[in-house]
């Protein structure tokens, strides 16, 4: 305990997300009960920034010039013609970095939300999400990260439409098995084909539609089929040891409702009904067999999304 520590001006609790869910490439995403905390300890003159990062990425993210919370804040200030007041940022990161659990989206959402908070300007939800999507390039992490829950997003490069689906029931949980392995974004993009056969496009449209309808109606028995995909998973699962085996083997487990690559990997998720320990351990054993260390989280869907606490300004 540090009695000297003063209350931050603003503190943001921002959830991890799992996106690209099966058939819902660039469309479906869910906020998870694993959080990064970003706090503004004091304001600084315009253009002056400092940051202190602990936990995940503490070696890579200390430089204020390249910190994504600060760059997103500056971008949002430009979008909304707000004065870019400087600040001292403290980040306590628990979301694994570059593992497909939306760590960069937590930074983008935090930066954009801070732009409005520091300027004292109320930004409408839809506009805030438009700017976060513009920065991130796709909506399926930033939208659930801000709103919470499971969301369906549609982005045409200019306009964003989104719907928040009902919450995952309490008796279901999300296992996220995180290998100690990084998939480079460039490799994850390059491995996807330029075009897909018409029948595969139809396959994904029908399965993504089924997945959304099943989620909306609570037909959890249909998740496994609804998450089947022919656009990205079979390609990306080859980029890291254990990916293909987890997709095919873990989904046969009686307690497993569905499996998917989280984001562009290498984290793998399973939606589970019942005790999660045995299934989670099996996912990690598959990573070990591939020579990669790993750990896992057993999570719920975070319904609150990004939560802001204000201190004494």
């Amino acid at each position: 305990m540090n009695p000297e520590r003063t209350q931050p001006l603003f503190s943001l609790k921002v959830p991890a997300t799992t996106a690209n869910l099966g058939s819902g490439f660039d469309t479906l995403g869910m906020a998870l009960t694993l959080y990064n905390i970003f706090s503004v300890s004091r304001l600084l003159p315009e253009g002056e920034f400092a940051c202190d990062v602990s936990g995940e990425g503490m070696d890579e993210l200390q430089d204020a010039k390249s910190n994504m919370v600060i760059s997103s804040y500056l971008r949002a200030c430009r979008e909304w013609s707000l004065p870019p007041r400087g600040f001292h940022l403290e980040g306590c990161n628990a979301v694994p970095l570059n593992r497909g659990l939306g760590s960069s989206s937590t930074a983008v959402v935090a930066g954009v939300v801070l732009a409005g908070l520091i300027a004292g300007k109320e930004i409408p939800e839809a506009e805030l999400l438009r700017v976060t999507t513009l920065i991130e390039g796709h909506p399926d992490n930033v939208v659930p990260c801000f709103l919470g829950g499971m969301t369906v997003s549609c982005w045409d490069g200019t306009k964003l439409r989104y719907v928040k689906l009902p919450a995952l029931p309490d008796d279901l949980c999300v296992v996220a098995a995180v290998p100690d392995f990084q998939v480079h974004t460039e490799d994850a993009r390059k491995i996807l084909p330029e075009s897909v056969p018409f029948k595969d496009a139809v396959f994904n449209v029908s399965h993504a539609s089924l997945l959304c309808a099943a989620w909306a109606m609570g037909r959890w028995d249909l998740l496994r089929v609804g998450m089947d995909d022919r656009l990205h998973q079979s390609h990306r699962a080859r980029l890291f040891p254990g990916g293909e085996e987890i997709l095919t083997r873990i989904r046969q487990h009686p307690d497993c409702l569905a499996t998917a690559i989280s984001g562009s990997g290498p984290t793998m998720i399973a939606i589970v009904k019942g005790p999660a320990g045995q299934l989670s351990s099996e996912m990690c054993r598959i990573f070990t067999a591939g020579g990669v260390a790993s750990h896992f989280f057993v999570l719920n869907s975070s319904q609150s999304g990004t939560v802001v606490e204000r201190g004494q300004v």
């Binding site: 305990m1 540090n2 520590r5 991890a16 009960t33 694993l34 959080y35 990064n36 905390i37 706090s39 202190d52 602990s54 936990g55 403290e90 980040g91 306590c92 628990a94 995180v178 100690d180 005790p275 999660a276 320990g277 045995q278 989670s280 351990s281 990690c284 054993r285 990573f287 070990t288 020579g291 990669v292 260390a293 790993s294 750990h295 896992f296 989280f297 057993v298 999570l299 719920n300």
Partner: protein, 163 residues
């Protein structure tokens, strides 16, 4: 020097639990270990790291047999203590090096132990030690299962200890 090392063992039955970003206010550890105690769950190697930003990570080991009970307890307590999350590592093992009681060579053994593990490419995730006592000193290293056998073999060769 090698005669002071009595035994080197590998235990694959441990699981590493980490509460991430526990707020540095009184009561967090009490809630966690109180809830585990209520279910009769024993823990070992409790470690709390110093972090900035008013939060720290708290980790401990449990026996593999208790995982299914411990997961829901930890998830519930994580919410109630406002931690940032809780992670579980099942693919770990504990390598224990035991020394003769009263050995004066502990610093040399430690130096050789860690340089041997490093030479075998084994990253140590947690270190715990009992360097005094009538039973002799013991040093426990938690390592990934992916490298545990290599670490055990390298240590047994370095200290000329038979299984």
């Amino acid at each position: 020097m090698n005669s002071s090392v009595k035994r080197i063992d590998l235990d694959r039955d441990c699981i590493h639990v980490v509460f991430l970003g526990l707020p540095n206010i009184p009561g967090g550890a009490a809630k966690i270990f109180g809830a585990l105690c209520e279910q009769g769950v024993s823990v070992d190697m409790i470690t709390q790291n110093t972090m900035r930003g008013g939060r720290s990570d708290l980790s401990f080991l449990i026996h593999r047999d208790r995982l299914e009970e411990v997961i829901p307890i930890c998830r519930e307590v994580s919410d109630s203590v406002n931690a940032q999350g809780v992670s579980f590592a099942t693919e770990v093992a504990a390598i224990t090096v035991r020394l003769e009681a009263g050995s004066a060579e502990t610093p040399q053994v430690l130096a050789k132990m860690f340089s041997t593990l490093a030479g075998a490419g084994v990253n140590v995730e947690i270190i715990n030690s009992t360097l005094s006592g009538s039973e002799g000193a013991a040093v426990v290293c938690i390592v990934s299962l992916t490298r545990a056998e290599e670490g055990l073999k390298a240590l047994r060769e370095a200290f000329e200890v038979n299984p």
